[in-house]
Symmetry: C2
Subunit: 349 residues, 2 copies
DNA sequence: ATGAAAGCGCTAACAG
DNA sequence: CTGTTAGCGCTTTCAT
């Protein structure tokens, strides 16, 4: 591997000049630049990452911590981050924690040890030790949390306004004549769950509907739990004419339950999910849902980080983006699916 | 950030001794070791990654290049690699290329520049420049390709034996009385597609069935193309009693087409996919398919790499693992789905 | 069993 | 516009 010295000698200049050329610092005569350029390309020189890092402790790397590679939310988020990062000369470093708090902390520490320049942190939970650590490093390095886990903590975050979007979805259901709206929520200890649930209650208030806790069932995010929750709603005998859920996967469980029990969707019960995963277009009937602007969330996170690095301003920023209601067949019988839906295609493996 | 010198001074020893302690080199008195241990923990010292890398040019990092975060194959593969790697003190570095050859090459170069210790490379294609580069670096650093892209190249690979598994699936279909087996294949330029397709032909030969090219339709891996292919098979008027596909997503497209045209599955046409993505258990009827031993593939890849590093033996190894036929409702009407199927649960986002 | 000192490849004062 | 020099934090001879 050639070093900067090889290039310098070979081009008949000093290391400094080569370094300056590489980093676009200070003025270099066009002629010298050209000689250096040629030499670099002839020697296939590429700067040693460690030596560079050691001097600058910059790595042009943004770390991304996620709980779970398999959650379809993340690929798109990562892509949003990566696209923006790449445009600005950064690469990303990804780490999955399998939703394990110990592993979350370990991932963060490892990233810091590797001197990444900023962190995007995603988690299902809100482990105190994680947050403490994030707050600690956030003074030195830009950190963005993809959840309002930490409303009260001095951290930057980027989120979808789940509460507002859910509230709007309630008014949509009322506008199509639904009056008894059930809700399948996630585990109460999750902040985002409660945020969306608050939106449901806001919506009822805004529409002058009574809040009836018998119409609310708690599930655990799995398809199966959504199925069971839907059955519970049926068994309760409540005159429900629509069901909203905190996540699409639970909504799809509910659809499977209603299909199985021959409850007509949407004629008897309309279903509205949250997230807009690709399954929404595959399931029958296709699922009305609230789409998160995932790629935009990623872009915003990357922008916050890169802005902060460039400006050396560690001020915290909070961004909340609007969710978008996407009406499909599970709430509108006249909706015509693009059929078969295009859900992308993966290469063979 | 404390340095090794801080630790040394604070513990009343030299840098050398601390370094030796850290790397388990040479003999150190129990007493000294204890003092160093205490100091390190008190100072929260952690070795500087760059300085270490500069000296050793080892990073304890395995790079993974994949074409696409969204393909459900990869999360599981990555997990297989990571689990093995972590157990052996390695971390992984992931990079997605969006199936773009230029980006593949760039990712590889960037990883090499960062001195990762080994690479697992996944691609949908087989760009010559990528392969040339891989072959070039494979003499210095262990490389494993997750596809027999490169049968003839001097590279290690780990794959599922698609041909053998497909052949077996044909004999399974024959065993349940099917005689006219259609096949939906992927784009011909993809090696793995053809590999599976050869298995289909092998199977016909083994079962004494004629190969009829009118029963074979080429699609492009998308659900939609599978749908169209299934319709083409129906329109052809051929007396098909079963359809195999090169991938699950195309099989699911076919199921949607058959459902839509009220062709009874599996009574009139049985469907068999390949991959075993989670959708197989969500679609109705649930999809019989050939499962790849994904996590085992990942583990095998990581093992090859870490073995090679430890033994400094750059010999190439090829591993081919068996696929497993998983019978569900799309071929067996008596199969009882675990219902609702457990497809895992993702935390909210 | 421990230390002193050299040097990995790079960047950034400082000097001309 | 260009060069000299010091030093980032670590591991590794070579001494002791």
């Amino acid at each position: 591997m050639p070093t900067i010295l090889d290039v310098a000698v070979s081009a008949g200049v000093s290391k400094t000049t080569v370094s300056r050329y590489l980093n676009g610092q200070g003025p270099i005569s066009e002629e010298t630049a050209e000689r250096i350029r040629a030499t670099i390309s002839r020697l296939q020189y590429s700067p040693n990452h460690f030596a560079q890092g050691m001097r600058t402790s910059r790595t042009k790397t943004i770390g991304i911590v996620i709980p779970d590679y398999a959650n379809p939310f993340y690929p798109e988020l990562i892509k949003g981050i990566e696209d923006y990062a790449r445009k600005h000369g950064y690469v990303t470093q990804l780490s999955s924690t399998h939703a394990d708090p110990a592993s979350e902390l370990e991932s963060l520490r490892e990233m810091v040890r590797r001197h990444i320049d900023g962190i995007v942190f995603c988690s299902y939970g809100r482990a105190k030790r994680d947050i403490d650590y994030l707050v600690e490093i956030a003074d030195r390095m830009p950190v963005v949390v993809m959840d309002p886990l930490v409303r009260k903590e001095p951290l930057s975050y980027v989120v979808t306004a789940g509460r507002a979007a859910t509230k709007e979805a309630v008014s949509y259901l009322v506008s199509i004549g639904r009056k008894r709206i059930g809700y399948i929520k996630g585990p109460s200890k999750r902040f985002a769950t409660n945020d969306r649930f608050e939106g449901y209650k806001d919506g009822l208030v805004a529409q002058g509907l009574p809040y009836d806790k018998d119409l609310v069932v708690e599930a655990d995010f799995s398809l199966r739990s959504g199925y069971a929750a839907a059955e519970a709603i049926l068994r309760s005998g409540m005159p429900v004419d629509s069901v909203m859920t905190a996540t699409d996967l639970m909504a799809i469980g509910a659809i499977k339950a209603f299909n199985h029990h021959r409850v007509a969707i949407p004629q008897r019960i309309a279903v509205v999910g949250f997230d807009d995963i690709s399954l929404c277009r595959i399931i029958e009937p296709s699922l009305t849902t609230i789409a998160q602007p995932i790629a935009a969330l990623g872009t915003a996170a990357a922008r916050i980080i890169i802005d902060a690095i460039d400006s050396e301003n560690m001020e915290k920023r909070q961004i909340s983006m609007k969710g978008e209601l996407i009406v499909r067949k599970s709430s509108n019988p006249d909706y015509r699916d693009e059929f078969p839906s295009d859900t992308g295609s993966f290469g063979i493996h």
